[in-house]
Each structure stands twice: as structure tokens, then as C-alpha cells.
Amino acid sequence: MSSHTASSSNGGNGSGDSGVPKRNSKRPKYSKFTQQELPACKPILTPRWVVSAFLLVAIVFIPIGIACLIGSRDVVEVVERYETKCIPVLNRTDKVQFIQSAADKTCRISMTIPKRMKQPIYVYYQLDNFYQNHRRYVKSRSDEQLKSASKENDTSACKPEDIANGRGAIVPCGLIAWSLFNDTYSFSRQNQSLTVNKMGIAWKSDKQKRFGKNVFPKNFQGGGLVGGATLNESIPLSEQEDLMVWMRTAALPTFRKLYGKIEVDLEEKEVINVTLMNYYNTYSFNGKKKLVLSTTSWIGGRNDFLGIAYLTVGMICFALSMGFTIVYFVKPRLAFYGDLATLPSYHGTEVLDRTKNVHGILLMFKAHPSLPIGTEALHHFGTSLLIVTLMSMECLKHDIDSGRILMV
């Protein structure tokens, strides 16, 4: 950076008496913005605000909490864990071997309905310890390929499940599709089968846009390894709702996915028999499998937590608002409008009350310029303490009128 650079902006005239002041083009233009004087609201947390804010939160939250709780309690949920049950006892020592064998995997379980369930009743499967959110897994898919037939070979992201040996691209490619869940359930009550509607379980947007109408499965599960379900090659992807549901990867390693809907009411104490085909291999990673029947309410499935959390926060706020009310009443701040000197940052500052001992004031106006200065003059006035201020009458007119200043 600079230093003693030789320079003087106006080196020419040296005599110091810079003549005419330059007319000012540089004068900043006044605007509220540049002068930082924009109108502003300056909310501050006065006691009233604090108490009412907390109270408001409490008033809003507690009803919401109650509503959520009620909503959640309305939901009836039946869960049946079956991954061990559905392995024949003999094969339970080596479940993986069983699941990979060609043995019959039909399995029957029954579920008891604890409470009347109104239709639609949603059927879910729940997997556990399944990292659908693993980066390797999540990335292994091709949105382009799913959408349009022309992008069929767009499989670069799908490794290692991208191209079938010698037969071109796999559609749908990638690990996600490859590992499609393939257990199937059929329900019956009192020997009368219950239809499971498997349509309308995927998102409408997935059906309409993300999965193409003219994209048909190809080379799927054609590789050496079979990961899960096969797809009917004559049905376009836009109709494969199971695939759509599966491909919306779950956020957590434990997840439920919609299997279908039962569109009749189920009565209390009814026993539902489920015939399931236990194909899917979760045994290699000790994953649990659960079958879930659940109704929904306006907040979705059964989850008391939201309601409880709302209630808790509401309660806390209520308590706080009460607490602050009490504090403000019982122990109002000593110096609410501030004896600044008592405050911590001013500790050690002895504030001089500089007017305490001034016993008399005499204001004298327009004294003669040659007024002799010194105590003689004051003796002349005979005051105990005289402070002589000569200011123009105009300046003090207001104070004189209001009686604050005495004239002599």
C-alpha cells in the first residue's frame, strides 16, 4: 500500500488560504435509505409481549396436540411379524439357504383385528435393517430410463445392475429396481377371500410422469443374480405400481411400504388369514419382515408422538407464561427504566450526581463586556454561588417562560 507518496491534491496554491470553497457536487443525496433512517418497527420483548407470546403458543399448541392425539388414537393398526414364522422349523438353522432354494415358500398366518377397522384398510409390508437409503443403493437408478423409452441405454448410474451380459440395457436398471420386494399376500376371513386392491397405491405423479407409459421392462432379473420380483414385460412401467412404491426409497433403514388396500370394513375380533409367499430374502442381513394392516386418519397412520410433542411444548409455554407473569409481579425489575448505574456493565462507575449540592443559580444576561471579572463582582451581587451565563435571551426564552430560570 501507499506510503509517503509525493502528492498534494492541490499543490498549486500553497498559501494555505484556499480560496473559494468548491461547490459541492459530492454532497450525498439525502434519502432515508442512505441515511439509514427508513421507518422501522422495533419490537421489543416487553413483559406483556413475553407473557402473551408464550400464552399464545400454549393456546395454539394444546388444542393441536389434543387433535393430533385423537387423530392418532382413531387409527387401528395390526402388525404381524413373520420372517421367522414363515420358515419351516427344520430350515431355521440356515434361513438363507432356504430362501434361495426352490422349496415351496407358502406360509399361512392369521391376524386378529383388535378393533373395528373402517375401509380403506391399508396393507403394508415393513422391512427392517434394510438400508434403502444407502448411497450406493440410492444412486443406482436412472430416472431418464424410467421415463422414456428413448433413454433406454441411459444406465451409467445404475452400476452394477446396468447391462445384462450381451443383451443390452436392463430396464428398469439399477439396484433399487433389481431388489424389488416380492413377497405376496392374500387375505381371507372365514374362508371368504378379501380382495386387495393394488391399484392407487403409488403417487399419481409417479404414474403419470416419472414412469413412462411406453417403457416396458426388459432384461429384468435376467442377470446371474436374482434380487427380487420379476416384472411382466408386457405391462408398461407406468402401470407397475409396486415398483413405483418400492423405488421411492425410504429415509430410514426401517420402513413400511404400501402393498395394497382392503376396501371392506373389518370387524372387531375378526380373524384374518393371510396366505403369503415368503420369497424375499432379508435373512442374509437379519432383516425383520412385518405385515401391517392399518387405517388412517387425517394425520396419517398411528403416531402419538406428534400429539404428545405438541402438548409438551404447549404445556411448557403455558408454564413459562405463568412463570414470567409471576416474576414480573412479584419481582419487578428494580430499575425497569433503568438506573443504568446499577447495571452490571456500569459497575465501578460512580455516577456523579452533579446537581446535588449546587445551592444557587443566578443567570445574568447581557452583561456589560467590561464587567470586571472576579470575585468583587460577585460580592456585588451578594450570592452564595453564582454561575454567570451570558446567553442570548432568545435561546433561553422558553425556559424563562416556563419558570425554570430566574432572571435577575
Binding site: T46, N133, T254
Partner: protein
């Protein structure tokens, strides 16, 4: 010219014993010392071609102060940018993002970085361009150079070479360091103004060697040649050693033949000189210190926080990669759905170590959100705005010069709010360097009714305080008055506070420069009616005669003006003229005075023969002339510092000593600089006896010639008769005392560093209330300054050390809390005091003193003192100055402020901020500094908060994905988070936040202490914010995960996928951080409203629009809000719940703080909020008076001290009936 001739003859005459007669050069210097290292420079005069080859090729006269040039800009500027650790980190991250390990797309890493770095570099380039333009202006200045054959032509400065002969004309700057050859005066003298070098405004005389005098026109340089051998370039301005070989004779050179670059030729038509040092070799450039790049304390601390975050980043990345490796090794083989056998390097169960290391990089990039990349760029943007506000502030605009305040580097804005010590130059900064004759005391009578600025200011203050008294006190006074009327025994003691002439009356400012005196008893010849007119006559004559000035007739106005060595003298002469004693002519031996009133109606011209002149030196502190009037009466007229004069009075000369002393004290009290005047009558024989001695001393050539002369002069200057005293006001710049007072109330310490002599400095100290009567003064000076020998140097040093330790002891033992000490130290002592082993003692003492004044300091010392304060106290220092001599300290201080006045631009060019008047410093610090500090501090804290709150959720989530490095958010969310969604609110916080309005800042200067004490950026607060961020991240993550665990999230039965969970979580984050910043702000203009609420709206809008894009771009986000989340009540209720839960602790904290432990600005905000300042003026004023920092300097302190004194007196005489009455008065 004519004037010059007169002066020249005077200079040559016998009148100037101390400076004129130099012992003949040839025999004084011993053997030539110019050999060996350090003295290698050879200059062939008038033969610049000889200097085109090594080793005689010296550097050119081109100067450059830029940091970069076109070639080096890119590499150097990039290097500068990536020296910032965070930038480097992001660069590495961006490079790595091109590889497979990156969790994000490369674009999302590179774009923000390019933006940030590009913006900063553009700023650098602009700043450097300005410097370049400034350099070019200097380099292309024209100077007249000898082109050979006796012809001179103009050349730009940058082309001037060593050995060139240049001709410099009146009022031009010297283009390089020159050896003076001859001048327009016959005897080769010239006058030089060195303001740019040392800040001194008085002219200095330079004198050429006698041998070069004949070279007095262009022609004579045709065949001129000579060789100069001299010292190498060095920074010492006051020394020069060399020889000049001319016509086979060698002549020694000394500093008086050297004309330094950047000084200016004055009062001399032209000079010729040979260039010795050019460009960077010149003394002034050597004196410059490289300006360090300054960073504010907050920014340095911010770096530390970044390091902390970085450690956190490395920590969680390591956890993550270890977790990843473990999972890969033990679990991955079981995950059949992932085809574990069919893997590449990144997920290789056989080689978990390698995968782990690769994952570490992924993790480092992923969690890079902990370190806010947009922090730097946001801060830069904010600072640019803040700087603009400073530049545009209409309250810091100076009508006279048309200059606004300028924030020249914007990266120190917040530092303005943390200043602890101000180091100020005096001349041109505090004062205008103009003296006005204001009062005088003649023969024990005080004259002059005008008030000094100090008096006016103090009176205003008192009047204000008194008005503040409530009616009760008024009642008391009324009561008292009546009591007093009865009680006319005259008993009670009476005090006079001050007499203040009406401000309105004062409006017609004196038209006469240097004269601001008003008293009808003396003006217009009325003095003839005064009783002691004999003394008055003498007084005026001393004013008119005892001087060394040169009168100059101004043709236009017919007035005579004076060219004097010091402005005091000019003001005396102006005063004498106004009193009717006009000094109009000076000849070699006489002074001519035109007396107006001595005989009414008649102008009488008198001649006073000057027999001897005993010059003023700072050591003697007096000057005398011995004159013979027309009647043959010989008189010694003397003026000098009062203490010196009073020591030299004769017994019968002390009649008025007591009253004069009292007046002098009064004058000193109100900040005037005083001199005492005295005379003595001599008879012929006495004089001639003394004169013989004097002449003998003068012509001796022994080394102690000066001492002898002094001794002889001393013999004469005694047994004087006191005539009176003068009081001159060193015109302070407008508003300086008020500004100093306010700054003192804001708790700032003010040091004055001046090149002036001690007395002047002390007087200025008085006039700007840095000193006051009753302050204990500690003066540290070297006792016997002449001795330079080694051992006596040691002795002097020990002496200084003793003085310092004694004084420290004294300060330490002081019991009275109101006792204030002032430390005054001169440059010579400072050289010792600044040595390594002593500087800490010195600093400790200085810190204990209320005010510190360093006088006679060189530019280098100014910088050293600044460094000492900066490094010794570890507090922020601000240096303010206007001249080139202040450049060093301006660069050294944490903040350099230049005054952009009339005196050149060096200080401004080197400064970080420039203002056009000292008084604007108050607003710059107390308003802008305070605001900027708080803004930046809050902004940075918030930045870290939001990035921690955001970044940690990534980490938690990653733990749920088997540490695979998957982020729950869409890439675009993350890109937008820092760049758009949360940046505008925090920028608006940094630009617009005001805790209190500017008026309140000014009314409550103590609020400034919040910055000095760093209440808003201490570790407690920073960690608090980080903790808040941690809490928020936990709440956001846990609540979201639990709520969206596995059940359906809406009536349609679908469960939430990762996109839904991520989007909800992100929505929560956006709402939380924006509500949080809304809670942090205390000042909402429409802009803040727009940005804060707009950011939340933007997020939802973005989500909606992004969802509408074709699924190939939007992926899982396609119609997410419109179809899935929007209709789901659980989405909205989660956002509400999480937002409230996150800000709840902060809300409780601030409510609690306001309630139990409010900070100063809280209270003021409350007062303002309840409009108490309007409804309850008294309370408002009381608060204001309480909100002053206890201060020992400034006129408030003066008023306090005075009142304490009065109180003390009143208490002593508490037995009087009056005070009893007072006690009994109704309350």
C-alpha cells in the same frame, strides 16, 4: 523577491547568533568519514548518462505503491484469496467434487466458490487500480530538468535520473532528494515547507554551499560538473553525510543543503539542485513502512471459530468414515440387495481401510456445510453496504471542502466499534494551525472579553446540566436568592464559574486573521484613557518589535500581512497592528513601526534600531531583542514562557507578578497558550560591555560556542520588569472539544502525538480538555540533551527509567479516585522509552494516565508508539492524522483515519477511513462503529448457528444410512441454502440492523463500550450460538425422524420416502433459521420483512416450481409439495412444532435476560418504546447523564472537577445559615 532579499540580508546579519554563523566548514569536520559500508553512493552531477550502467545505476524516480501489476495480478490475487483457509478448503472440495467420491454434483461446489472468489478479487482489483491512478498522477508530474547546453526542459518526474540538475520553482514539490546548488537569492538560501514529511508547518531554511552560488542561471550549468559521495539511502530525515567534489576541492555536505522529495519550495522564486536520491531511494520513501494488510479482530476471531468448526468437521468425518469402514467390513457382505460382491473400490468389503479413506473425503465435502462458504462473501457484501452508508452519511459531509467521509477499505468497519485508544496527530487534525490573539493581561489588568471555545463549550455544558435540575432545585435557588438578599453581610463565598459572551453576539467572526480580541478599553485608542498607559504602550511595542517576521504588503487590500516563523508571532503582529502599532518595514538593522494613537490624529513612524537578537529556541523558551529607540534609549524586550520570564524578573519588576500569574492560570485553564512579556532598560556602558562579550562568543570557533552564546545571552536576560502576558488561542478545528468530550464519555483513551514542541502540545492539551488544571502532570524529558556520548546516553536512559518508575509508583499509590494524571513525554525521552527493555514500563505508566501527550516525535516514533499501544494493550487502536508524517502511525494502527483536509493526500491514501474533520470521528465511531460492530458480530454468530443447525442434520442422517454419505436433502436444496434461502436475511441483518437509533448512540456514548468490551462476540456468546445451533439441529432431526418414522403420513396411506422426509426437514430448517433471525433483529424496515418472510416464501415457491419441472430434472421432488406434502396436515404441523421448539430456548433466554440482566441498549430501547423520552424528559436526561463513561478528560470532566471543588468548599462552610436554610427547604 524584494522581501526575499530583505530576509536574506537579515539572515546573514549578525542578528541571528544561533543559526547563522557556521564555523567554516573545512576545519570543523575531521578526516572524511565517507568510506566503508553505508557510504558508497557516488553521484556525478550533471552527468546523468553516467548513471545508466551498474553499479552507478540507481533506481528510477518512478514510484509504485500498487500491490499488483497486470501480470502478477492473477497469481498474486488468487494466492491472497486462497490464503484464507476457508477458501482453500472449498477449493480442494471443489476439485474433489469432480471425482466419484463427491456426494454432490461438481457444479454445486464450484459455482459458489467461483462467485465468492471472483467478487473478492474484483474488489481487490478496483482498490489497486485507484492506487495506480494516484501513482501515475505523481509520476507524470512535470519538472524542469537540465537537458544539456544550459537548456532546461520539462520532464515527467518518473524520468528524472540521479545526477540531473533540476530547477524547482516557487510552491512546487521537489521531485527527488536534491542537493541545493543555488537559489534566486544571492546568498543561496531558500525556504522549504516540510509539512508532508514531519507535519511541521513553519518554513525551514536551506542554504547552499558558497562555492555553488555562482550557478545562478540556466546558462551556467552548461559545463557544470561535480561528484557527490554520500551515504546510502536511509530513512533518517534529519541527517545527511556526504561530500561534494567541485573544482578539485572537496566540501562537506550537511542536511541543510539537502532538499527532500515531497517538501515544497516556499517564498523563493526558484532553486537549482542536483538529484541525489530518486524514487524509492529518497528519504521520504525510505521512511515509509510497508502497510500491513489489516484485518479486524472479529475477523481474526472468526478464523478461530472456523478452525473449531473445521476440527468438528474432521471429527465427525472421521467418525463417519470409521463407521463406514466398519459397516463395509462387517455388514456390507450381508446386504444382498446391494450386490456386495459386485463392487468397485468405494464399497469394497475386502478393503474397508481404502474405502474408509475414500469416504473420509466424501464426508469432508458433505459436512462442508458446517463451514459457511457464503460467510465471507456475505460479509464482504455487508461491508460494502456499510461502507456506502459511511460514505453517504450526510452528517459526515463537510460543506467547506465538499468531502464526504470515505471508507477506503471496507474490511475494518466493525473494528470501528471496538476502539480503545485513539492516537491523534495535532496540527491539522485537532487544530487548524491558526492562532488568534484573544486576551491579554497588562500590568495586572485583564483585557479581552471574548471567550475561548473551551469556555463556550464548558458553559454550554454547565447550562445544560443546570437546566436539568428539577423544579425543586429551582425552588431552592429562588429561596436562596431571597435569603441572600437579606443576608447581605457579604459573608458567603462567591465563585465565578465563567463568563460567556452570547453565542448570538459572537456571530460576526473576526475578519482579521490572527486577531479575535475585543475589549473597548483597548481598542480604537481608548487605551490612552486607561490608568496604566505607560505599561500598555510598552506592551504593544514589545508585541510589535520583539519578533523576527517579515512584513508583506498585500497590494489588493493595502493591508500588511506578516510572514512569521510561527503563527503565534503572526497573531502578535496582527494584534499590535490593530492596537495601532503597525510594523511595516524591516531593514537590516531596524524595525519600523507606524504608531497611530500615540499622538491623536497623527501617524508617527518610528524606527527602532535592532542591536541584538537573541533567538527563540525550544530550550531557551524565550526570545529577546535589544533595541535602541529614536531617543537613544536602549531597551531589552523579551517574550517567553511565563515560568522562564518569572524567574528572571528583577525585584521591582514583580509588582504585577501575582495578578498576572492568576490571569495566566485562568488563561491556561481555558486552553489558551500564553507568553509573558517583559523589558528592561539598559544604559550605554552596560550594554557595550555585554555586547563585547557577546561578539567574542559569537566569533569563537570552539565546540562549545553555542553554550557560550547561551551563557552570555543568559547574563543579559535577567532583572527584567514584567509588563504583561498574552493569551493566544490555537484555533481548534470545529467541534473538536465536544468530540473529544463525547469520545471520552464513550470510554476512549486519547493520546496526542505531535511533532510540536512541548509547550504547544500542552496548550493544545488544555484547549481540547485533554489536560486541565488540577490534573497531575508527569513530564518526562531528557535532562541534558546535548550529550551524545555513549555513557551519558546510558545515564540518560537510566534517568528516564527512574522517572518512569517513580511516576508509576506515584500513580499506583494514588488514593483519590478522581485524581487524574497526564503524561507528557518528548521525542528524545521516547527514543529511550521505546527501547525493548523499557517500553513496558512506559506503557504501564501511560495506561495509568488519563491523557498522554507525546511531543516532538518523528513519524517513525509515531508508528512505534502506535505499535507499542497496539501490541502492549492488545486493544484496538485508532490513529488519526492528516499529514504525510502521520502515514506511519496510520498504517501501524489497527485503524488508520486520515483527515482529508487541504494538506495533501498522503495520510488519506494510507488510511482505512478518511473524514474531513476531526469532529466526524465521533459519528464514525459512536454511530457507525457501534452499528457495524454489532451487525457483523450478530451476523457471524448467526451464520455459524444456521450452518451448524443445518450441517449437523446431515451428519445425523448419515448415521442412519450406514454412514454411506447419502444426504437426505436434494442437491439443489443445499446449494440454495447458503446462496439464496438464508443469505438475504442475514445480509439485511448486517446492513440494516440498529439496536438504537443514531441519535441515541450519540446521546448515550457509553453504549460504545459494548464494542470495546466485545460483549457481542465473546466466546460465551459464540459458544451460546453454537449450542443453539446444536440444539436446533437435534430438535429438527429427531422430531422429523420420529414423526415420519414408518407410518403413513397422510390419509391416503402412503408412507414418507426420503424425499418427503428430507423436504420436511429442510422446510423446518428454513423456517427455524428465519424465525431465529427475526428474533435476533430489533429493527425491521420493510427490507428486513421482505427478506426474512420472503426467504420462507421463496423456499415454498421454489419447492413448488421445482416440483413442476419435468421429473428428469426434479427427480423425487416432482410435484412433491403439490401432491404429497402440501395436502398433508402433518407436514405443516411438523413445521410449526419444530419451529417453535427450536426457537423456544432462545426466546426464553432473551426474555430472561431482559428481565433480570438487561443490557444497556435494552433499557434504552424500552425507554424509547414506551416513549418515555418524550413524556418524561427529565428521566431521559438523567439516564443520559448517567450513561456517560466516567471520564477524566474532556470538558465534562472539567465541569465535574470544578463542581467537586465547589462541593468541597461548600461542605467546609456548611455552618452558614444559608446552607441550613437550604437543608430545610421543601423537598
Amino acid at each position: 523577491m524584494a522581501r526575499g532579499r530583505i530576509r536574506e540580508r537579515l539572515r546573514r546579519s549578525h542578528l541571528h547568533p544561533f543559526s547563522c554563523l557556521r564555523p567554516n566548514a573545512n576545519d570543523s569536520e575531521g578526516p572524511n568519514p565517507l568510506q566503508g559500508p553505508g557510504f558508497s553512493r557516488i553521484v556525478h552531477c550533471n552527468q546523468p548518462h553516467k548513471h545508466q550502467k551498474k553499479p552507478l545505476k540507481y533506481c528510477s524516480n518512478y514510484i509504485s505503491t500498487t500491490k499488483y501489476n497486470i501480470v502478477t495480478f492473477l497469481p498474486k490475487a488468487l494466492y491472497e484469496q486462497f490464503r484464507r483457509f476457508a477458501n482453500l478448503y472449498f477449493l480442494v472440495a471443489a476439485v474433489l467434487s469432480l471425482t466419484a467420491v463427491s456426494p454432490f454434483s461438481p457444479l454445486s461446489m464450484i459455482l459458489p466458490l467461483a462467485f465468492v472468489v471472483g467478487l473478492s478479487m474484483a474488489k481487490e482489483a478496483l482498490e489497486d487500480w485507484r492506487r495506480f491512478a494516484q501513482d501515475m498522477k505523481v509520476n507524470s508530474r512535470k519538472a524542469s530538468v537540465h537537458k544539456g547546453g544550459g537548456v532546461f526542459g520539462y520532464k515527467p518526474w518518473q524520468k528524472i535520473q540521479v545526477g540531473d540538475v533540476v530547477k524547482v520553482e516557487k510552491d512546487q514539490f521537489f521531485p527527488a532528494d536534491l542537493l541545493l546548488l543555488s537559489t534566486s537569492y544571492d546568498d543561496g538560501i531558500c525556504y522549504v515547507e516540510t509539512m508532508n514529511l514531519d507535519g511541521e508547518t513553519n518554513l525551514k531554511v536551506k542554504r547552499s554551499l558558497d562555492v555553488t552560488l555562482p550557478l545562478e542561471d540556466d546558462e551556467s550549468f552548461k559545463n557544470f560538473s561535480g561528484i557527490i559521495k554520500c551515504e546510502d539511502p536511509n530513512p533518517s530525515l534529519y541527517t545527511f553525510v556526504g561530500t561534494f567534489e567541485y573544482e578539485r576541492q572537496v566540501y562537506p555536505l550537511d542536511p541543510s543543503q539537502i532538499l527532500l522529495r515531497d517538501s515544497k519550495l516556499r517564498n523563493t522564486a526558484y532553486v537549482y539542485g542536483v538529484v541525489i536520491f530518486t524514487g524509492f531511494d529518497s528519504k521520504v520513501m525510505q521512511n515509509s513502512t510497508k502497510s500491513p494488510s489489516k484485518r479486524s479482530k472479529i475477523e481474526k476471531k472468526m478464523d478461530k471459530i472456523i478452525y473449531i468448526l473445521l476440527s468438528l468437521l474432521v471429527l465427525i468425518s472421521s467418525i463417519s468414515s470409521i463407521g463406514f469402514a466398519v459397516k463395509i467390513k462387517f455388514q456390507m457382505p450381508k446386504w444382498s440387495y446391494m450386490q456386495p460382491l459386485n463392487t468397485d473400490n468405494l464399497y469394497d468389503p475386502d478393503n474397508p481401510g481404502k474405502s474408509g479413506v475414500a469416504h473420509l473425503i466424501t464426508a469432508l465435502i458433505l459436512y462442508g456445510y458446517l463451514i459457511p462458504i457464503s460467510l465471507y462473501v456475505s460479509i464482504e457484501i455487508v461491508k460494502v453496504f456499510q461502507a456506502r452508508f459511511i460514505n453517504q452519511d450526510i452528517h459526515m459531509y463537510d460543506e467547506e471542502t465538499g468531502n464526504t467521509a470515505q471508507a477506503r477499505t471496507s474490511n475494518l468497519n466493525e473494528e470501528l466499534g471496538q476502539v480503545e485508544t485513539i492516537l491523534s496527530d495535532k496540527t491539522g487534525t485537532l487544530t487548524c494551525n491558526q492562532m488568534d490573539f484573544l486576551k491579554c493581561s497588562i500590568a495586572g489588568t485583564a483585557y479581552g472579553v471574548r471567550s475561548s471555545e473551551i469556555e463556550l463549550a464548558a458553559a454550554k455544558q454547565i447550562a445544560m446540566d443546570l437546566e436539568e435540575q428539577d423544579t425543586q432545585n429551582i425552588n431552592v435557588s429562588r429561596y436562596m436568592k431571597s435569603a441572600n438578599k437579606e443576608d447581605s453581610r457579604g459573608g458567603p463565598e462567591i465563585e465565578l464559574e465563567s463568563v460567556i459572551t452570547s453565542k448570538c453576539e459572537n456571530d460576526q467572526k473576526p475578519a482579521i486573521k490572527g486577531f479575535n480580541f475585543e475589549d473597548s478599553r483597548l481598542m480604537h485608542g481608548h487605551w490612552l484613557n486607561e490608568p496604566n498607559q505607560e505599561s500598555l504602550l510598552l506592551f504593544f511595542r514589545i508585541l510589535a518589535i520583539c519578533q523576527t517576521a517579515v512584513p508583506e504588503l498585500n497590494e489588493e487590500s493595502g493591508m500588511i500581512t506578516y510572514e512569521a516563523e510561527s503563527p503565534d508571532e503572526a497573531s502578535f503582529l496582527a494584534a499590535a497592528r490593530e492596537f495601532g502599532f503597525e510594523f511595516y518595514k524591516r531593514t537590516q538593522s531596524s524595525v519600523f513601526i507606524r504608531e497611530k494613537y500615540a499622538h491623536p490624529g497623527q501617524l508617527i513612524e518610528r524606527e527602532f534600531k535592532i542591536l541584538n537578537l537573541l533567538e527563540f529556541t525550544s530550550k531557551r523558551k524565550r526570545m529577546s531583542v535589544i533595541v535602541q529607540d529614536e531617543d537613544g534609549q536602549i531597551l531589552l524586550l523579551c517574550k517567553g514562557a511565563d515560568s522562564i520570564i518569572f524567574d528572571r524578573l528583577s525585584k521591582n519588576g514583580r509588582i504585577h507578578e501575582e495578578t498576572t500569574t492568576k490571569h495566566l492560570n485562568d488563561y491556561g485553564e481555558v486552553g489558551l497558550r500564553t507568553l509573558a512579556l517583559a523589558y528592561k532598560k539598559l544604559d550605554e556602558p552596560e550594554y557595550s560591555a555585554w555586547n563585547n562579550e557577546f561578539v567574542k562568543a559569537k566569533t569563537s570557533f570552539s565546540t562549545d560556542r553555542e553554550a557560550m552564546l547561551e551563557r552570555v545571552a543568559d547574563m543579559m536576560e535577567k532583572d527584567l520588569i514584567l509588563v504583561g502576558a498574552t493569551a493566544v488561542e490555537d484555533k481548534l478545528q470545529k467541534g473538536v472539544p465536544q468530540c473529544i468530550d463525547k469520545l471520552a464519555q464513550a470510554g476512549l483513551k486519547i493520546w496526542v502525538l505531535t511533532g510540536d514542541k512541548m509547550e504547544t502540545a500542552i496548550n493544545i492539551g488544555y484547549s481540547c480538555s485533554l489536560l486541565r488544571q488540577g490534573m497531575k502532570r508527569i513530564c518526562i524529558t531528557v535532562m541534558n540533551s546535548d550529550v551524545v556520548a555513549q555513557d551519558s546516553k546510558q545515564a540518560a536512559k537510566e534517568n528516564i527509567l527512574m522517572q518512569i518508575t517513580n511516576s508509576s509508583q506515584m500513580v499506583k499509590l494514588e488514593k483519590d479516585p478522581h485524581a487524574a494524571y497526564a503524561l507528557i513525554i518528548d521525542g528524545k525521552s521516547l527514543t529511550f522509552a521505546l527501547e525493548d527493555d523499557m517500553k513496558h514500563h512506559f506503557l504501564a505508566l501511560a495506561v495509568g494516565c488519563a491523557s498522554v501527550i507525546c511531543c516532538r516525535v518523528s513519524p517513525k516514533q509515531k508508528a512505534l508508539v502506535t505499535r507499542l499501544v497496539k501490541e502492549g494493550t492488545k486493544k484496538t487502536t485508532l490513529a488519526i492524522g492528516d499529514g504525510a508524517n502521520d502515514v506511519g502511525m496510520i498504517q501501524e494502527a489497527d485503524i488508520g483515519v486520515g483527515i482529508s483536509g487541504v494538506e495533501g493526500m498522503q495520510a488519506v491514501m494510507a488510511s482505512d477511513f478518511s473524514i474531513s474533520q476531526f469532529r466526524f470521528l465521533e459519528r464514525l465511531l459512536v454511530v457507525h462503529g457501534h452499528w457495524c460492530y454489532k451487525r457483523i458480530a450478530q451476523m457471524i454468530c448467526y451464520f455459524f448457528y444456521k450452518n451448524i443447525a443445518f450441517g449437523l442434520t446431515l451428519f445425523y442422517f448419515e448415521a442412519f444410512t450406514a454412514f454411506s454419505g447419502q444426504s437426505v436433502y436434494n442437491d439443489w436444496y443445499m446449494l440454495l441454502f447458503n446462496v439464496i434461502l438464508t443469505s438475504l436475511p442475514v445480509i439485511s441483518l448486517g446492513v440494516f440492523e440498529q439496536d438504537v437509533s443514531s441519535e441515541v448512540c450519540l446521546q448515550f456514548p457509553a453504549l460504545y463500550q459494548q464494542g470495546t468490551k466485545n460483549l457481542f462476540f465473546d466466546w460465551y456468546r459464540i459458544l451460546g450460538w453454537m449450542g443453539n445451533g446444536l440444539y436446533s439441529s437435534l430438535v429438527i432431526f429427531i422430531l422429523n425422524i420420529v414423526i415420519f418414522y414408518n407410518q403413513a403420513f397422510r390419509a391416503g396411506g402412503q408412507t414418507a420416502d426420503m424425499a418427503a422426509v428430507g423436504t420436511t426437514m429442510f422446510s423446518c430448517i428454513i423456517c427455524v433459521v428465519n424465525f431465529q433471525i427475526a428474533l435476533t433483529m430489533s429493527h425491521f424496515t420493510w427490507i428486513q420483512h421482505l427478506f426474512v418472510w420472503g426467504s420462507i416464501a421463496t423456499w415454498f415457491l421454489f419447492l413448488l416450481l421445482y416440483g413442476l419441472m419435468p421429473p428428469t430434472y426434479s427427480g423425487y421432488v416432482y410435484k412433491l409439495l403439490a401432491e404429497a406434502l402440501g395436502p398433508a396436515p402433518i407436514y405443516w404441523s411438523t413445521i410449526l412444532l419444530v419451529t417453535v421448539a427450536c426457537i423456544l430456548p432462545y426466546l426464553v433466554h432473551i426474555s430472561f435476560q431482559r428481565c433480570f440482566n438487561p443490557m444497556d441498549h435494552h433499557i434504552i430501547q424500552e425507554i424509547k418504546y414506551y416513549k418515555k423520552d418524550v413524556e418524561d424528559q427529565r428521566m431521559w436526561r438523567r439516564e443520559r447523564s448517567k450513561a456517560r463513561q466516567e471520564t477524566k478528560i474532556g470538558f465534562s470532566a472539567r465541569v465535574d472537577a470544578k463542581i467537586r471543588q465547589l462541593k468541597g468548599k461548600l461542605q467546609k462552610k456548611s455552618s452558614t445559615s444559608v446552607s441550613q436554610n437550604c437543608m430545610a427547604s421543601p423537598s
